[in-house]
Amino acid sequence: MSGQYAAFVISAYAIGFGTIAGLIAWVVLDRRSARAALRRAERASGTDRR
């Protein structure tokens, strides 16, 4: 992409997809953290099904 507005277009897409990447990372890490917390709680309560 070239032209006088290229920097604005690239910046907008970088912001957009940077936000999406951050959102996906947060959802995945939050899920891992919740799963680990659930496993700890299941072990502590004696309901661990593994």
């Binding site: 992409m1 032209g3 006088q4 507005y5 290229a6 604005f8 277009v9 910046s11 907008a12 897409y13 912001i15 957009g16 997809f17 936000t19 999406i20 951050g22 959102l23 996906i24 947060w26 959802v27 995945v28 939050d30 899920r31 919740a34 799963r35 917390a37 659930l38 700890r40 709680a41 299941e42 502590a44 309560s45 309901t47």
Partner: protein, 250 residues
Amino acid sequence: MSTTSSAPVPASIVNPGRFGRIADKAIPWLAGATVVAFAVGLYYALWASPEDYQQGATVRIMYVHVPSAWLAMFGYMVMTFAAIGTLVWRHPLADVSAKAAAPLGAAFTFMALATGSVWGKPMWGAWWVWDARLTSMLILFFMYLGLIALWRAIDEPSRAARVTAIVILVGVINIPIIKFSVDWWNTLHQPASVFRFDGPTIHASMLTPLLIMAVAFMLLFTTLHLTAMRTELMRRRARALRLRTARGSA
């Protein structure tokens, strides 16, 4: 929690266990469809679609700005219907849905504001103006942040669900204000050009990539929302087990 004043809910997909099983099967397919839709959408948005005769290449910013703005409002409507589900049926999945949608809505609102700002600088000559559309979107962003903070501030989930549901229903007044702000006030922001009674005013060569990107954003939202709901259900089960363990050992 009392349910004596609540209407019955059919025990189908709204059962948390069944919901989890269906979501686990659907999420990989939705994620795959999201990637495909973004690949096609970006091809059209960045290469196959023409530049605008007035805006030049900046029209390409519309293909990320407009879908993110639609998702910002859609996220709040999801929370609104979930809030009604919480207050009328008191179903636990309704609050789980609202709580999972809030960070997603906040992120899409931020994206709409930031990409709009980057478009505004070359076209309006300013990064920001206190225009009715921009200001009402900024208010939506702060409402999302406030609701996330409110959920975190109240420990007891059922109490947090009721309080946040009421605040969500009060705040939904901002959605028609955002939508119609360009008609009600003299705004620098252009009026609606897709969802109009007399049909879209955008040329098909630009409407096509816009709608493909909108589908991609909607698929992304659905994938992340279902995943975040599954996470919230796990967190609530862990909390219930911890409480049961603590009572058992007391």
